[in-house]
């Protein structure tokens, strides 16, 4: 039951707190975040160093999770390889969010010619094969974390733009926007201070899920080797060990499991946020 005197945000948190799946997601993300933050300080093995015999199976007291085909420590790779993946994912998701909100809000707010023109731009980026285009961008301009981030950000924003546009179209015609216009608020003020805050809930959900998508995107590019070869990442580990899948399954399975769990945590939290912001859906 809704209690009086609580903001919609507190209300949403109250719902979120009772969502078991979302809390599990949050816990997964907490553990992964902790490992990525302090793991490299505690486990000081360089993931590029050869520390044992090639393809040592997991369980060896020196290399707990085994070694890859070159004899590099898998655990060291897991502990260090998450940072670039997660970092690129978050930054790229931020880029897609900013581009998406900008294009979507202008399109939805101004409508007419602006909407048609920006609609073409969105359509254009939808037709463009995103991964191939990002691959081309990255190889043309030196594979590095920066180019990977930019490439993902540039190709993956159309969903966010469509969502923001729809929200703006809906909110634009509500009474409080009309009254803001009636008292002479500027367009910029209406967009940023009146409409945007009300469009935030779905945008937050979408941005959360976009982080997961961006992480998968980064992992895919790294898997193909289109990333900085001097920075260990989960995708890169899988890519370099995949030809030894039969002989050293662990070198492929564990990094993939890390990506999977990270994105799973994000998806669960995203779903939880979605339910928290849409309490109506629960009652079904």
């Amino acid at each position: 039951m809704a209690e009086a005197g609580r903001s919609p945000w507190q209300e949403a948190w109250a719902v979120f707190r009772r969502n078991r799946a979302a809390l599990i997601g949050l816990a997964i993300l907490g553990v992964i975040g902790l490992v990525l933050a302090v793991g490299p300080l505690l486990y000081r093995v360089d993931p590029f160093d050869i520390v044992g015999a090639p393809m040592t199976p997991p369980g060896d007291p020196d290399v707990l999770l085994g070694t890859d085909y070159l004899g590099r420590d898998i655990l060291a790779g897991l502990v260090r390889g998450g940072r670039p993946t997660v970092l690129v994912g978050i930054c790229a998701a931020m880029i897609t969010t900013v581009i998406g909100i900008t294009i979507g809000s202008l399109s939805g707010y101004y409508g007419r010619g602006t909407d048609r023109m920006l609609g073409r731009v969105v359509e254009f980026f939808q037709v463009l094969p995103a991964l191939l285009f990002a691959m081309v961008l990255i190889t043309l301009f030196e594979p590095s974390l920066l180019t990977v981030t930019l490439a993902i950000g540039v190709v993956a924003w159309t969903g966010m733009a469509r969502l923001t546009r729809a929200e703006f179209l809906r909110i634009r015609q509500l009474d409080f926007v009309r009254s803001a216009r009636a008292i002479g608020a500027s367009n910029a003020r209406i967009i940023l201070a009146t409409i945007l805050p009300n469009a935030l809930p779905p945008i937050i959900v979408s941005a959360t899920l976009a982080t997961g998508t961006a992480i998968l995107f980064e992992a895919g590019l790294s898997f193909l080797g289109l990333t900085d070869p001097n920075v260990m990442s989960w995708g890169l580990m899988i890519g370099s060990s995949r030809n030894y899948l039969r002989e050293a399954w662990w070198a492929v399975t564990f990094p993939g499991l890390c990506i999977f769990l990270t994105v799973l945590g994000i998806s669960l939290v995203g779903d939880g946020l979605n339910d928290a912001f849409n309490p109506k859906l629960r009652q079904r």
Partner: protein, 325 residues
Amino acid sequence: MAYLAIVLRRVVQAIGLLAAVAILNFTLIHLAPGDIVSTIVGEMGGASEETIAELRRAYGVDRSYLEQLGIYLARVAGGDLGTSIYYNKPVFLLILDRVPATVLLLLAALTLALVAGTALGVLAARYPRGWFAAAVNLVSLFGFSAPVFWSGLMLLLLFASAIPILPPGGFYDVVAGAQGLAKALDIAHHLVLPATTLALIFLALYSRLARASMIEVLGSDYVRTARAKGLPERTVIFKHALRNALLPVVTVAGLQFSAMLAGAVLVETVFTWPGLGQLAFESILRRDNQLILGILLLSAVLVTFGNLITDVLYRIVDPRIKTDG
């Protein structure tokens, strides 16, 4: 008549978009450091000034950007996508050679994802409180969260290594050299793992969408009307609810062609499936620019074509669209 006009307008729009894609790709490759001549010279291990100048003239890279762009566009419009420097063959033929494998993979994955995804979603909506709905939820979470190349490798490990019932990769068994129906079956056998892997992501999406929209539709007034008519539950679900519930699935499926192509690149790499994705990846590593440009353009054509088909399908499923433009 009006219907034809709409389709025609869509086609014109699509051509405009594709031209824009061509211009952007060309510009990017033009802007990037190093051009075709430096690549050739690099492979030759160095060349004299005169040779370089001659090569630049021969490949037209001595002209201005606009001139080169004009020449490129005119050529593309005439159906000439240029020549691959690696294969020394026309790009168009190279691509044509790879299209069937990719289209086969995409269609198989799409069909699997749509049929299985919708079925799972509908059943989960029908029995929302049982273990089945929970299982569908788990499958969809896995599909959403697992990197497609990794789930592909895991399937390989499982079904080609641990329980070796499926081939680990390739298009068909070259050694066996089967013909006719046997070859088709062989290809199908090779198709199972890549198509399942690719379908997994989209199956997750469609089952979720189908479930959500089915739950909504089952609570709608017209389903209540159908029940009030005394229709059997089967007819209520499959005739009245399903068709409406499919609308959002079709819409989203139409927006996913680009994402499917992305998945196909990774899946083809994992399963050495000789499609466009694999060719694209290889030519990006080889800096075979004409071939990259060609593949990008053709992928955009595939995506556009997919969107057009979705549009037509949507109009068939939803009669409300027909009258307005």
